[in-house]
């Protein structure tokens, strides 16, 4: 393990100029105080006014820049004379407010926002909102997401979720949809909780139980599925999007990265329902817990997903900064739904986050040993914080033997007098000690050395290759983790996000707009972890319940799960979001508890069919007058097809699997028909089928996948090897498993495997027509069934959670 530091900024000139303008905390207190005098008659500040001035004004008149001496994000400064002596906002007097004069001006030199920056004028409706707000007293309110959530009362005997949703529906005179059928609900629960479709037997059992007692059947099925080891495999996936989990380092060489043990840690944590505060602390700083266990150290693999640019000519200091920026930004998006990266180069244009605060968080992460070491020439290696995960002493003994045998062989090679032309050989023989490290020697000899090498050395090379091969097979699995540097470098603000322009020195710290650090918090990552997982944090629990909600309903209550800041969307049901956030913390941060509350709600259990009225009034289903209906995610489409076909391999965890049979050999065939979550994430060359189905390439933290509908998806689902194998297996299964040769009963079984319901008469007729035409054209019976299977696996209903 490497433990040297990069000398990061240590010798850099120190600038002691303070860039902090005002205490952000003081601002938020002022906002809170003025909010109490709000006039109820005017437009709502948070919902209606702030989005306008934040999007259209703050860039030049906000926390970062105050052009013309005007700052509009605080009432105090907005109501004082600016440089021009005019006052932007005169509370109660729209006609005297310069702001209104400017946004309505037709004079190019005066009109705001200025035309030359490519802006268009405010819409008349927006101007009217501002006018009404100023007339009503121009009161500011603190941003909703920075105020601690509380539970609004719920009438006894009512489920909180349904109470809040129906209150909104009642306002708009909309009725909830009728309950979904038991078959649909059985499939919905299976796909949502474990990510796999139910078998016809599962459906029959549930329908039987549900006909006796609907609610207790749903309750029992939810408990059963929440306890399944498949639950973690489904729910870890979206966390791995946030963690930008990959099995390779990124672009350029795209080398392997041993992170899968961390992936399995996430799956196990979801299965064990690890309290989310603990889940947070262990991933942010598990290594710094007292007597940290192996598992707690593995949890810090979260941060090792950061992408690395391993270039032939890369600056190591810049690489380190890139990694830390990525860590800071990922933590910001994942736990706080705040895009910190704006503050990486300058104080945030919209949210109250200064560049100094950004580098305080950066300082927490600028204390670990380097991830990457550079060797003379163009060679970089992933090092620093590499754990060998085994307790098998015999195996480790063999590793040591092999390594010393290889070193001895290299010493023998050095004594052979021969002219060395090949760079890899020169590096092994003459290079620094690091390039004689046995694993690197093996890499040089297998991946880099072209040709046999000089005759005199061929026996040595052959022996080294043999020993190296065994070493590779014997080395225990590795996990990448964070490891503190005993002598961490000093952190400076990096002005304009440039490592060559260091500013003032900063110490670790958090964001002043949010809650204070716990008083006993240590000044390292553990302190940051405690701060993130604190009950006082207004964001973490809200951000998380919004994510779980989106997993089930397709869209969050806040439609921008990556941004709860001033530019994010206002929640559709703010009281519901807050109720869930408090409920989450009150129940020991139990994810399974929250998920169960969601699926037990009548809102979740509604039919997902559109009515013409709902299509016209609420096509996005923001009001939740119907149940969720959306296409399955990439990984689940694979899982779904393989399960229907009876091909899915069910081992929990393990090495990355091959995407398709074409990538595997006979010996590794068992690594193919595995769940999507295990498919190797080669970041520089992702599995095209998943990419076409909106899976991110995992280069960066992703909080929300788009859900597109494209011809490349159709081609993949029709023709790709995995889906083709699934169609063939489903056809064979249908023929071999059925006790009858009758078309209708075979078709019914196949149809139920795909959709959890029996086909209707017209559907059966359409499929019979295809079957007859195909056999009439000379296809065998199994081939005709294959075509039917291909059709059924591609039905919109099969691809969709209804």
């Amino acid at each position: 393990m490497q433990s040297s530091t990069l000398g990061w900024n240590r010798s850099a000139t120190r600038f002691c100029r303070s860039t902090e303008r005002t205490s952000m905390r003081a601002i938020s207190l002022i906002l809170l105080l003025v909010a109490q005098g709000a006039n109820a008659a005017g437009p709502d500040f948070s919902r209606e006014v702030r989005p306008i001035i934040s999007q259209r004004c703050f860039k030049c008149h906000g926390p970062d820049e105050q052009m013309g001496g005007l700052r509009l994000d605080q009432r105090e400064s907005a109501t004082l004379p600016a440089d021009s002596d005019s006052v932007a906002i005169v509370p109660g007097k729209p006609e005297a407010s310069e702001l209104l004069r400017r946004v309505t001006s037709h004079d190019v030199d005066e009109a705001m926002p200025p035309g030359e920056s490519g802006s268009v004028p405010l819409a008349p409706k927006q101007v009217e909102t501002l006018r009404a707000w100023i007339a009503a007293g121009a009161e500011y309110k603190e941003h909703w997401a920075y105020v601690k959530p509380t539970k609004s009362p719920v009438p006894p005997g009512t489920k909180a979720i349904d109470h809040f949703v129906r209150a909104e529906l009642a306002k708009l005179k909309l009725q909830p949809s009728p309950p979904a059928s038991l078959e649909t609900l059985c499939r919905r629960l299976h796909l949502d909780l474990i990510g796999l479709p139910p078998s016809p037997n599962d459906v029959d059992a549930f329908v039987d139980a549900g006909n006796r007692d609907r609610q207790s059947a749903i309750n029992a099925l939810a408990d059963h599925l929440l306890a399944s080891p498949r639950f973690g495999e489904k729910w870890a996936r979206h966390w791995l999007d946030l963690a930008r989990y990959g099995d390779s380092a990124g672009y350029q060489h795209d080398d392997d990265m041993p992170l899968w043990i961390y992936r399995d840690w996430v799956i196990q944590a979801f299965n064990a329902d690890m309290p989310f505060d603990q889940f947070t602390v262990e991933q942010i700083a598990g290594d710094l817990l007292p007597n940290a266990s192996l598992q707690q150290r593995i949890a810090t693999g979260f941060h090792r997903g950061a992408t690395v640019t391993l270039g032939a000519d890369q600056n190591v200091d810049e690489l380190r900064a890139q990694l830390i920026w990525d860590r800071v930004n990922t933590v910001g998006t994942t736990w706080l739904a705040t895009s910190l990266e704006c503050a990486q180069c300058h104080t945030h244009k919209f949210d109250p986050i200064s560049i100094t605060e950004y580098y305080r968080i950066y300082a927490y992460f600028n204390r670990t040993v380097p991830d990457i070491t550079k060797e003379a020439g163009s060679h970089y290696f992933i090092t620093g914080g590499v754990l060998e995960v085994t307790d098998d002493e015999t195996r480790m003994q063999r590793v040591r033997e092999l390594k010393s045998a290889m070193i001895a062989e290299i010493d023998t090679m050095k004594k052979v007098k021969v002219q060395l032309k090949e760079a890899p050989l020169r590096r092994i023989v003459f290079g620094p000690p690091a390039s004689r490290e046995p694993e690197r020697v093996y890499y040089y000899l297998t991946d880099e050395l072209k040709g046999p090498g000089p005759k005199e050395l061929q026996p040595n090379i052959a022996k080294l290759r043999r020993l190296g091969r065994e070493l590779m097979d014997t080395l225990p699995p590795r996990a990448l983790v964070l490891e503190e540097d005993p002598q961490p470098p000093v952190t400076h603000v990096l002005l304009r996000g440039n490592i060559r322009t260091p500013g003032e020195e900063v110490l670790p710290g958090t964001l002043s707009v949010l809650h204070p650090l716990p008083t006993d918090a240590p000044s390292n990552r553990l302190g940051l972890a405690q701060w993130l997982a604190s009950r006082d944090n207004p964001l973490t629990s809200r951000v998380m319940v919004n994510r779980w909600w989106a997993e089930l309903f397709g869209t969050g209550l806040v439609t921008t799960p990556e941004d709860f800041g001033l530019q994010g969307e206002f929640p559709s049901h703010p009281e519901l979001l807050d109720w869930l956030a408090v409920e989450f913390m009150d129940h020991a941060w139990s994810v399974k508890h929250i998920v169960k509350q969601l699926v037990l709600s009548e809102t979740y259990q509604q039919s997902s069919a559109f009515t013409p009225e709902l299509l016209a009034r609420d096509p996005q289903n923001r009001l939740l007058a119907r149940g969720p209906r959306h296409r399955l995610d990439a990984e689940l489409l694979r899982d779904n097809a393989l399960t229907i076909a009876g091909l899915l391999q069910h081992e929990l965890g393990g090495k990355p699997a091959f995407a398709t049979t074409a990538d595997a050999t006979k010996a590794t065939a068992m690594f193919v028909w595995r769940r999507g979550i295990y498919v190797r994430q080669q970041r520089g060359n992702p599995y095209t089928t998943f990419a076409s189905l909106d899976a991110p390439d995992r280069f960066a933290c992703t909080a929300r996948r788009p859900r597109t509908n494209t011809p490349l998806q159709a081609l993949a689902l029709l023709n790709e090897p995995i889906f083709n194998e699934a169609a063939i297996a489903l056809a064979k299964r249908t023929v071999s498993e059925s006790s009858t040769e009758e078309f209708a009963s075979r078709l019914a079984r196949m149809f139920r495997l795909c959709t959890a319901r029996a086909p209707k008469a017209d559907e059966q007729a359409m499929l019979a027509e295809l079957f007859e035409k195909t056999t009439r054209d000379g296809a065998s019976e199994v081939d005709a069934w294959r075509l039917i299977a291909n059709v059924l696996l591609n039905l919109d209903e099969t691809l969709t959670k209804e």
């Binding site: 992408t307 020439g377 959306h630 960066a700 494209t710 159709a714 023709n719 499929l767 059709v791």
Partner: protein, 472 residues
């Protein structure tokens, strides 16, 4: 010989065939339903565009400007001497220190065309196109690493995660051919990119805008071919049956997404015909094949240039054509003639062919590396070879060529110092080039934005200005 088949006719035939199968099987009128598109408003340019398409020829690795387009007699005169310290001060290099000797170009330069533009003897065919070209000798970039510099050139930002230019264009302008993706990438050569698919990514834009890579060989688009044992008649029958069942289900669930899926399966079916037809360059006349030096049997940069023409002809918005191998840290005068032989004729043929077909005015053809190469020699190669005779990465000056799309003809823009080290007149930053290309396509680069993570993003980040002097 075979006359070029009108691509629109091909598409129409496969569309008709599809309808016939659906009608034949169930007699359901799908026409009005299939006409529906999933996207909302049809995108439109900000002002009347000069050009509609762009072919971006990316010379991956960074070609040497002083050996191809920017003659420097002084460099030859001072060959072997150290570069003046003040000249190289503050420049970031990949491998060299800057104290290395200057290395003159062994190639002869001559003036070409009515405009008298200088070209090296390595690119005689391109030189014959002098009067069609704008030659920008004053390009600068911020990045001296391949991956970062390629990302900057393609996505406007040095790190991964932003949409490629073609993704911005299909987002901003839509597509002109519903049978093909609007943004396509083609490759040849050793290490055609260092940043991989991040260069044609849709970034935070909807993935429908992602660039699609067309490969040579058996399958141009992933999963285009039916699996073994499925005939194309069977495929048509399956898609028709899927459509009928989905249509019946649509009546039950009322979700417009089902209608979109029906139309996308239909498009997939049409692509199964239109793409192989498009890729089949054997349809071209022998004269055209010879003009490019293209050989249908063997993938090549020449084939890709010809394909690029066929793609824009069919309405594809942007084609990125990568040719790798220009990263000459060693033996530059071995690799350069080889690469120029691959590159010179097809690029000149593409420009001439587009012009002859009346397509050059509406098509921007850009020839660019991600940076240039040093006037100084690189003595030690990255893997330790001495007396390497290479040139290192150079971000402070390089040359880019643009033809068509309303760029000036026979025009040289900007100037470097006597050694080709720094720009001394009219610098053009990568963001300026992007802003100018967008401008010709009818887009104000400051107004084509996308709100993501609380911020409006654009191709040119927060930089870039339209360089009017480049335009007619």
């Amino acid at each position: 010989m075979t006359q070029l088949r009108d691509p629109n006719v091909v598409a129409a035939v496969s569309r008709r065939e599809f309808y016939q199968r659906v009608m034949g099987l169930g007699g359901i009128a799908l026409g009005s339903l299939l006409a529906r598109e999933s996207s909302g408003a049809v995108p439109a340019p900000h002002f009347p565009p000069k050009a509609k398409h762009i072919i971006f020829l990316h010379m991956s690795g960074g070609p040497s400007h002083v050996d191809l387009f920017d003659p420097k007699p002084a460099l030859n005169k001072f060959d072997g001497q150290s570069a003046p310290a003040e000249l190289v001060e503050g420049i970031e290099f990949g491998f060299i220190t800057g104290k290395e000797s200057l290395m003159g170009s062994p190639y002869n330069f001559a003036k070409h065309g009515r405009c008298g533009m200088d070209f090296s003897e390595q690119v005689p065919q391109l030189a014959s196109m002098a009067d069609e070209l704008t030659m920008i000798r004053s390009m600068v970039t911020d990045e001296f690493n391949h991956a970062n510099a390629q990302l900057l050139l393609s996505t406007g930002f040095r790190r991964v995660g932003r949409p490629g230019m073609g993704a911005w264009l299909t987002y901003g302008l839509g597509t002109e051919n519903a049978d093909l993706p609007g943004f396509i990438a083609l490759f040849t050569g050793d290490k055609p990119t260092n940043a991989g698919n991040a260069l044609w990514s849709s970034g935070f834009l909807p993935t429908v805008h992602q660039g699609v890579t067309f490969q040579g060989g058996r399958e141009a688009v992933p999963n285009l071919n039916n699996p073994p044992g499925i005939t194309s008649a069977q495929r048509a029958d399956t898609i028709a049956t899927i459509a009928k069942l989905n249509l019946a289900h649509l009546a039950d669930v009322g979700d417009p997404e089902v209608a979109t899926r029906i139309s996308q399966y239909e498009l997939a079916f049409r692509m199964q015909t239109s793409v192989p037809d498009l890729m089949n360059i054997a349809q071209e006349t022998p004269d055209t094949l010879a003009l490019y030096g293209a050989d249908p049997a063997k993938p090549s940069f020449a084939n890709n240039c010809l394909l690029a023409r066929r793609l824009v002809e069919r309405g594809v918005r942007m084609v990125q054509v990568f040719l790798g191998g220009w990263d000459a840290h060693q033996q530059i005068y071995d690799s350069m003639p080889m690469l120029c032989r691959q590159m010179d004729r097809p690029v000149a043929a593409l420009i001439g062919d587009l012009k002859q077909r009346g397509l050059l005015e509406q098509t921007l053809v850009v020839w660019a590396g991600e940076f240039g190469r040093t006037p100084m020699v690189q003595n030690v190669s990255p893997d330790g070879m001495t007396n390497a005779m290479g040139r290192d990465h150079h971000k402070d000056a390089f040359t880019v060529l643009v033809a068509g799309g309303g760029f000036k003809r026979g025009h040289v823009h900007g100037e470097t110092d006597d050694l080709g080290c720094r720009v001394v007149r009219d610098p053009v930053h990568v963001h300026d080039l992007q802003a100018t290309l967008l401008h010709q396509l009818g887009i104000n680069h400051k107004q084509l934005t996308y709100r993501y993570q609380g911020r409006d993003f654009r191709l040119t980040d927060v930089h870039g200005q339209v360089i009017k002097e480049l335009l007619t």
